[in-house]
């Protein structure tokens, strides 16, 4: 039996060989008992399989309705949104959106718009008193005369 002969047998059984190929194969079948045996087994198998009744399939109205409903939807809506509404695409998109939002917010709050804290009168007085206390601390208060020294120092600082 030639290697191609076996393959030819199935096509022969299925009626798929050209007349020339049929003639050549039949000549080999007549001369080769092993090929005849394989042919008989294959033919029996094909006959048995094709004699099986078709499996029944229940037509479910719900399946029909589902398909007809889906084809009635605009393709753009299905195709575009179905493609984008997946976690794989949503998560990076969300991250990118947040990054862009932060960048825009930072750029809008530029240095020219920063609020400048202008101290009030009470705060200025408090600062001066703290300054005096600091001088006391630096100089060290050992006697009442030291108050006069500190006061003199402040008068000198205030003099332009």
């Amino acid at each position: 039996m030639m290697p191609d002969d076996a393959e030819q047998l199935t096509a022969y059984i299925d009626g798929e060989l050209s007349p020339e190929a049929v003639q050549a194969l039949e000549a080999r079948l007549a001369a080769d008992p092993a090929l005849r045996s394989l042919h008989a087994q294959l033919a029996l198998t094909v006959a048995k399989v094709e004699a099986l009744p078709p499996e029944t399939v229940a037509v479910r109205p719900a399946a029909r309705a589902a398909v007809l409903r889906r084809v009635a939807e605009p393709e753009e809506r299905q195709g575009f949104f179905a493609a984008w509404l997946t976690p794989r695409r949503l998560l990076p998109s969300l991250g990118l959106s947040v990054a862009v939002a932060i960048a825009v917010a930072v750029s809008l709050r530029g240095p020219h718009e920063r609020e400048v804290d202008v101290p009030g009168e009470e705060e200025l007085q408090l600062a001066q008193q703290l300054d005096v206390l600091e001088n006391y601390e630096v100089l060290g208060l050992e006697s009442a005369d030291d108050f006069e020294v500190v006061a003199a120092l402040h008068e000198l600082e205030a003099t332009p």
């Binding site: 199935t10 099986l52 084809v71």
Partner: protein, 190 residues
């Protein structure tokens, strides 16, 4: 001729005619489910896959040319869909398809026919399970849907020589399973 009529309906579908689509759905739903069932090996996946096949059929109607047979186009869509599903690993190994008893109606003249038919069906299912995806597709289209080799080649986007080889290898696998049915188990011989 039904094939010409299907082609005409498909041309209407390409123009957005959903009534023609519904007619095609009713005509071919059962065979597409059967094909998907054999291909995926799953009862549950089969109906879901068949629904997707019909939606894709509608969406791709614009690419259909009436010079091609409608069934070839339909099974091309079905084969591509099932192959993609299997590649995604959607094969339901946990739920192998076992044909129901009523699916294999017996020949009335023989008392042992129901058992024989059920056993034969089971042997075919086992063989299908052992085939490659393309062998399974080619075998199903040939033996159960009655498509000629040339149409199967178009549906699988393969050469006729490749289809001949696929069908032969698949038929050999079925033959071995059927022969195993005829040989009694060793323990029965003892």
């Amino acid at each position: 001729m039904a094939e010409d009529d299907d082609a005409a309906l498909m041309t209407q579908v390409a123009r957005g005619d959903r009534l023609s689509f519904a007619t095609l759905f009713d005509r071919h739903w059962a065979r597409v489910v059967r094909f998907c069932r054999r291909f995926t090996g799953s009862e549950a996946l089969a109906e879901e896959a068949a629904q997707e096949v019909f939606v894709k059929l509608y969406r791709s109607a614009g690419r259909y040319r009436p010079t091609a047979k409608f069934t070839t186009f339909l099974f091309r869509v079905a084969t591509n869909h099932c192959l993609n599903e299997l590649r995604r690993g959607a094969q339901a190994a946990q739920e192998p398809f076992v044909p129901a008893a009523h699916d294999v109606a017996p020949a009335p003249e023989r008392a042992d026919a129901p058992l024989e038919a059920a056993e034969l069906q089971a042997a075919v299912v086992r063989a299908l399970d052992g085939m490659s995806d393309r062998e399974r597709a080619a075998f199903s289209l040939c033996r159960f849907e009655g498509l000629p080799y040339a149409d199967i080649a178009q549906a699988l986007e393969a050469s006729e020589a490749a289809v001949k080889s696929l069908i032969h290898r698949a038929t050999l696998q079925v033959m071995h399973e059927v022969q195993a049915l005829a040989a009694p188990p060793l323990k029965e011989l003892a």
